[in-house]
């Protein structure tokens, strides 16, 4: 038997390795190509992009598009808003999720199962837009940043992930021992649980932050003032919305803007994705640990 493996094993193994590496290479190309294309297009002369001349490398290199973005107030206001919403929103998300996930992770909490059921059920039902809008309006949050933050303060999915992390990777004995020492639950959470939870916190920050950064639908509904628009709404306008059909005089001067938006499309894609991509390496090493432990036992 051992001989058999020795005889056919290595070449077989090798062939297998080659195939694996090849498939991996193909995947890398498929994933990267569109991104590289956009990068190349953003540095190219828009006319040559339109003519389909750009494949992988920029043609007629120009920084015009980025220069235009630099001078586009709307984009920068959107940028500022998005950063604000992301930072404040994520902060609230983390605190709220933590406050819910930790107690619910405690096996000694009576009523835990019932509470979990109440919480999980909300993943599958909602009262619809109108009542939600009425609620947000009743709380005086329409046309403020809070409408984008408070109604989404907890993602149930994330709550489940975090709770599972607490259950499975912080030894219960440790918590009991702390209790014996007369440590209150608040102290326990702040000085023992939190320091042990960096991976999951990193993952949560990433989840929530990406969500805030990329969201546009709630803003479309709740935000009226253009100066409160998040970046994604500005992008939507630039990337795909056809302006409302031309009423007389309505389009005076639109033409310039259109041409402009044609040429800055690609650069806008890059600029808008940059913050998330920059943030990514910092939290990246926590991913596997955090997500894994959070999910294994559902």
């Amino acid at each position: 038997m051992a001989e058999k493996i020795a005889a056919k094993g290595p070449s077989d193994e090798l062939r297998f390795d080659v195939i694996v590496y090849l498939i991996a290479a193909v995947i890398i190309i498929i994933v990267l190509y569109p991104l590289l294309f956009v990068v190349a297009a953003s540095f190219s002369d828009p006319a040559r992009v339109l003519n389909g001349e750009v494949w992988l490398l920029p043609k007629g290199v120009t920084l015009e598009a980025y220069n235009n973005i630099l001078h586009n107030d709307k984009i920068w206001i959107g940028y500022r808003n998005s950063i604000l919403y992301t930072v404040v929103g994520t902060l609230i998300n983390i605190v709220m999720t933590l406050l819910a996930a930790y107690p619910l992770s405690r096996p000694d909490l009576p009523g835990r199962k019932g509470l979990m059921l109440i919480i999980t059920l909300t993943m599958f039902f909602s009262g619809g837009l109108i009542p939600s809008y009425l609620l947000v309006k009743g709380l005086g949050m329409v046309d403020t940043m809070w409408a984008l933050i408070i109604p989404g303060a907890i993602s149930t999915y994330n709550l489940i992930v975090m709770r599972t992390y607490f259950q499975s990777s912080i030894p219960w004995e440790l918590q009991e021992a702390a209790h014996m020492d007369g440590c209150s639950n608040w102290r326990l959470l702040l000085s023992i649980i939190l320091p042990l939870s960096k991976p999951i916190l990193a993952v949560m920050v990433l989840f929530y932050a990406v969500g805030h950064w990329n969201a546009f639908f709630n803003a479309l509904i709740y935000i009226r003032s253009e100066e409160l628009y998040p970046l994604q709404l500005v992008l939507r306008e630039i990337l795909m919305i056809s302006q409302s059909a031309g009423e007389e005089g309505g389009n005076v001067g639109l033409e310039d803007k259109i041409l402009l938006s044609e040429s800055i499309k690609y650069a806008v894609i890059i600029v808008s994705s940059l913050p998330v991509l920059i943030m990514y390496p910092f939290v990246q090493r926590h991913f596997v640990k955090g997500v894994m432990i959070g999910s294994i036992k559902g």
Partner: protein, 319 residues
């Protein structure tokens, strides 16, 4: 535990049974945990359960002037209208088929990717593959659809390639036939790496001795994947499957909306976008509330079915 003691003496009534006493004592002892839960639970009641009363407009003729409670009841009229509507069949079919196809195609691919990554021996190469496949996950839907428009436009690289190979250019984004392929394909492109993380993590938790044993038995790499790796992550697969099905009817609303146009509507008209365009843009709130409710009901039914099935067959379930 000073506080707990106080509560004990104050709260526990004499006539409680021994069990009730213990429960109350337990509760009292952990009152600060409930304190932590207070804000989140209030939030859940307010933002998730509060608006549920609004579901009644599905059975009413909602008149904004009179408010939700003051509007008149009409029973199942709106449901009837939906079931009789020309678009009912198409909406249901598109919603189900897009989601079913996603489940069939997009669900297994991250698993395969994880298995693939697990087989790569060079650590740096596997890290590279992982990190690159994660990137698209962080791009917003708006931008993704923007990229799709660009890549698949008449003068985009894909059509240039087709023309280079002697074909004639295809209007991908304006074709019903291509819609589902593009939608699901781009979903896979965007999310396979990210979704594979969980499986990779699961795979790394498998006892290496199992592989050794399989190797000793003469199992090929493929057989080892099949008999060791895959079974090792089945519980994760099941849980994720259930969670996915829980969102079955809601997948990709924003993205579909952004991709929709008259030429692909045949394939892209789904319940959630129909609710949006008819309800919010045309103000038919009651009608669309009824449709939304119908959607949720299908969703919940599916979820309960799958959860029960999973519990019976693999002893893994959501609750």
């Amino acid at each position: 535990m000073k506080n707990a003691k106080i509560h004990e003496t104050v709260v526990v009534p004499q006539f409680r049974s021994e069990r009730g006493n213990r429960l109350l004592r337990q509760i009292a002892k952990r009152y600060d945990l409930y304190l932590m839960l207070l804000v989140p639970i209030v939030w859940y009641l307010l933002f998730h359960y509060g608006p549920l009363y609004g579901l009644q407009i599905a059975f009413k003729n909602f008149n904004p002037g009179k408010g939700i409670l003051g509007s008149s009841w009409v029973g199942f009229e709106h449901f009837q209208r939906f079931f009789d509507s020309y678009y009912f069949g198409r909406l249901l079919w598109n919603t189900l088929s897009i989601n079913l196809l996603s489940l069939l195609l997009a669900f297994p691919i991250p698993i395969m990717l994880a298995l693939l990554i697990n087989e790569i021996r060079s650590k740096s190469y596997s890290k590279l593959l992982q990190n690159i496949t994660y990137i698209p996950h962080f791009i917003s839907v708006v931008v993704i659809v923007g990229i799709l428009n660009v890549m698949l436009s008449a003068n985009g690289p894909i059509n240039m390639l087709i023309q280079g190979l002697g074909g004639s250019s295809v209007r991908f984004m304006e074709s019903a036939g291509w819609f589902k392929t593009i939608f699901i394909g781009s979903n896979i492109w965007q999310n396979m790496g990210w979704q594979s993380i969980i499986y990779i993590a699961g795979l790394s938790g498998i006892n290496p001795q199992l592989y050794e044993a399989a190797k000793m038995d003469g199992a090929s790499r493929l057989r080892r994947i099949w008999h060791v790796s895959l079974p090792g992550i089945v519980p994760v697969i099941v849980i994720l499957l259930i969670l996915d099905i829980g969102q079955f009817m809601n997948i990709g609303f924003e993205k579909i909306l952004l991709m929709q146009n008259n030429l692909n509507l045949e394939a892209s008209d789904v319940i959630s976008t129909f609710v949006y365009t008819t309800g919010i843009l045309k103000g038919e709130y009651s009608y669309t509330a009824a449709i939304g409710l119908f959607n949720s009901l299908i969703n919940l039914t599916l979820l309960l079915l799958v959860n029960r099935f999973a519990r019976k067959t693999s002893e893994t379930s959501l609750w």
